[in-house]
């Protein structure tokens, strides 16, 4: 549009410090538990029981209940691990990188994106743990002075993974808690019931919001954002090293780190949209998470989706350009092998469908965005499936080829983690402020800068 056209504000006009505080804190403090929430929670809880059952049976029987067998030792467990950890990355991107870039639109989505990160990392961490076969020995992976006198092998990317994922989980938790601290104090001060005052009083640690408090808080927050930024890039890089440092065709490629990171952010933004769209509706948060926010996230999805598409292209190009016959064969297997339908579905979900996001009409159409976010999540899961399964079933020698199909326990575990993740989100939106209140007040201040007095 030629000439200046006003951009919509990041927050519905007319909000004051008190009104944003009221609106967000009431979802935690005063809103009664609705029938919808209770039914949803009950349903999700039953799915978590399915997860318990699947893991209990696994502990009794061993990993043989899954569809994995040599040559495919990495089935669903690794596919799901990479998928979940990738989803977490958008939370850190929103909270850290967009903070460093001074993007105002992160403000109303960062809190629950960070919660999403934590829960996704928890689901992700579960998979390698139960995939070890003897999860009660998982502490072997950490360096500790054992009576056996042995130590971890630090030249292995799998050990890098242990450090990367556990650091990522810890730092995400710290970042989330620091962000929550002033909001917990707000809840403490607004709580009417004694038990709420006690719980939020303890969690907020006596935060007073003094100028000195805020000064140190902002220094710590900025530094955490600066530290989390390279961290989040390193985590999926290290995850991609699990593949890329191996010699298996289709894995041994230098494009993996950047394209894994882009894919992680791609799927993470899709998941943020999947969660944000129902949440803003259910809690009347449309004034905070505006259409412009959704559009912005759609743009990030489009951009990262194109990087992912570039990654797919380079994988193919390098396979043929290298002339390595195993790589060429693997590339052809993706197109014509037994798992070709997965590959075509992946291209459809991850490359073709998201091109609709070029159109502003689609980016501002909420149902379309919601459907697209689901499609991208499925596509990103298929991507990891294609990477893990096709390479492992078609490596160098035809005598080592195989087929992989998941069992009911594989599906039960995966669906179980989906239930666990969503159940934690359900608890989170009722137990803690889903939007950063103090940052929203700051946004009100910035947006109304120059206006006459406001409450």
């Amino acid at each position: 549009m030629p000439g200046g056209h006003e951009l919509e504000p990041w927050i519905e006009p007319g909000h004051t410090y008190a009104s944003v505080t009221d609106k967000i804190s009431s979802a935690v403090l005063t809103r009664p538990l609705g029938i919808g929430w209770l039914l949803g929670f009950g349903f999700l809880f039953s799915i978590v029981m399915v997860l318990n059952l699947a893991i209990g049976w696994l502990f009794m029987k061993g990993v043989g209940i899954w569809g994995i067998n040599i040559p495919i030792g990495w089935g669903f467990a690794i596919v799901n691990f990479v998928w979940w950890i990738g989803i977490g990355h958008a939370g850190t991107l929103i909270s850290a990188i967009l903070y460093l870039l001074n993007q105002k639109w992160r403000t109303s989505i960062n809190r629950f994106a960070e919660a999403m990160t934590l829960f996704a990392v928890a689901c992700a961490g579960l998979f390698p743990l139960i995939h070890t076969g003897r999860p009660w020995m998982a502490y072997y992976m950490f360096p500790y002075p054992s009576t056996m006198g042995i130590w971890p092998q630090f030249r292995s990317p799998l050990i890098w993974d242990v450090f990367a994922v556990s650091t990522y989980g810890t730092v995400s938790l710290l970042f989330w808690f620091v962000g929550l601290l002033p909001d917990l104090a707000t809840l403490r001060d607004r709580a009417k019931q004694r038990w709420q005052q006690v719980i939020f009083g303890m969690l907020s640690m006596g935060w007073r919001g003094s100028a000195r408090h805020w000064h140190r808080y902002q220094v710590a927050y900025l530094l955490l954002a600066g530290l989390a930024t390279p961290l989040v890039l390193s985590v999926h890089t290290v995850v991609s090293f699990d593949f890329a440092t191996g010699i298996v065709p289709g894995w041994h490629t230098t494009i993996f780190p950047p394209y894994f990171v882009a894919g992680a952010i791609y799927s993470g933004f899709a998941m943020v949209l999947t969660l944000a769209i129902p949440m803003r509706k259910a809690y009347g948060m449309e004034g905070f998470i505006t259409l412009r926010h959704l559009e912005q996230m759609a743009k990030v999805m489009l951009a990262t989706g194109l990087i992912v598409a570039y990654g797919y292209f380079i994988e193919f190009f390098m396979a043929f350009y290298s002339g390595n016959k195993f790589d060429v064969f693997l590339a052809k297997q993706r197109l014509h092998g037994p798992y070709a339908p997965f590959y075509y579905a992946l291209i459809l979900c991850n490359i073709l469908t998201p091109q609709l996001l070029w159109f502003k009409k689609v980016r501002r159409n909420i149902p379309a965005l919601f459907v697209m976010s689901l499609i991208i999540n499925i596509g990103m899961w298929l991507e990891r499936f294609v990477i893990v399964v096709i390479s492992l079933t078609r490596d160098f020698m035809p005598s080592a080829w195989g087929r992989y199909s998941a069992t009911v326990w594989d599906y039960a575990t995966f669906v179980g983690t989906l239930g666990l993740f969503t159940m934690l989100i359900f608890l989170f939106v009722r137990g803690l402020p889903a939007i950063a209140i103090s940052e929203m007040r700051e946004l009100v201040h910035q947006e109304s800068h120059g206006d006459e007095g406001h409450q």
Binding site: T16, Y17, A18, T21, I150, W151, P152, Q153, F154, R155, P157, I159, W160, F163, A164, T167, T170, V171, L174, F175, P182, A185, T186, R188, D189, R190, G201, M202, M205, G206, W207, R208, G209, S210, A211, R212, H213, W214, H215, R216, Y217, Q218, V219, A220, L223, L224, L227, A228, P230, L231, S234, V238, F241, S438, E439, R441, E442, H445, G453, Q455
Partner: protein
Amino acid sequence: MSERRSLLFGVMGEFSTPEDLLAATKKAREAGYKHIEAYTPFPIEGLSDAVGFRGFRSNLVALLTLVGGVGGGLTGFGLQYWVAAIAYPINIGGRPLNSWPAFIPVTFELTVLGASIFAVFSMLALNKLPQPYHPVFNVERFSHASTDKFFLCIEARDAKFDLVESSKFLQSLHAQHVNEVKDEE
């Protein structure tokens, strides 16, 4: 029944906008008050400077974060070197025992971990948190400090403090409510 002794912590004025508070804080400093503190529902640019929080002390969190990061990184590399070259040397594909490029990812992760932990816990420790009790919480209106009001407290330990004079001074700065802040002992 022993009567609880009440000590005076200071006087507190309430303001409606961050601009008013910032202006009042600056005037209080100009008037010679040293022990003042402002309380706000969100961070306000320039306020910590206005209450006199500047210099080395205000940069301590950043310095300690650096210490944590350097410490984490040295620990990470030292651990791997010691494990791989001294405690448990194994020949992996003929590579040197100190195969340092392979140690970079863990070194990096522990650098970030050390720095982050130091950033958060030094912020909390220097802010003296957790601290469940503080005299300012005795002011009833203070619950608005985490919602929509801005407070300036002149503390009784200030050499220039005088209950009547300081209260008048806050009123002259257009504070809406001026309250005594009681401390219990």
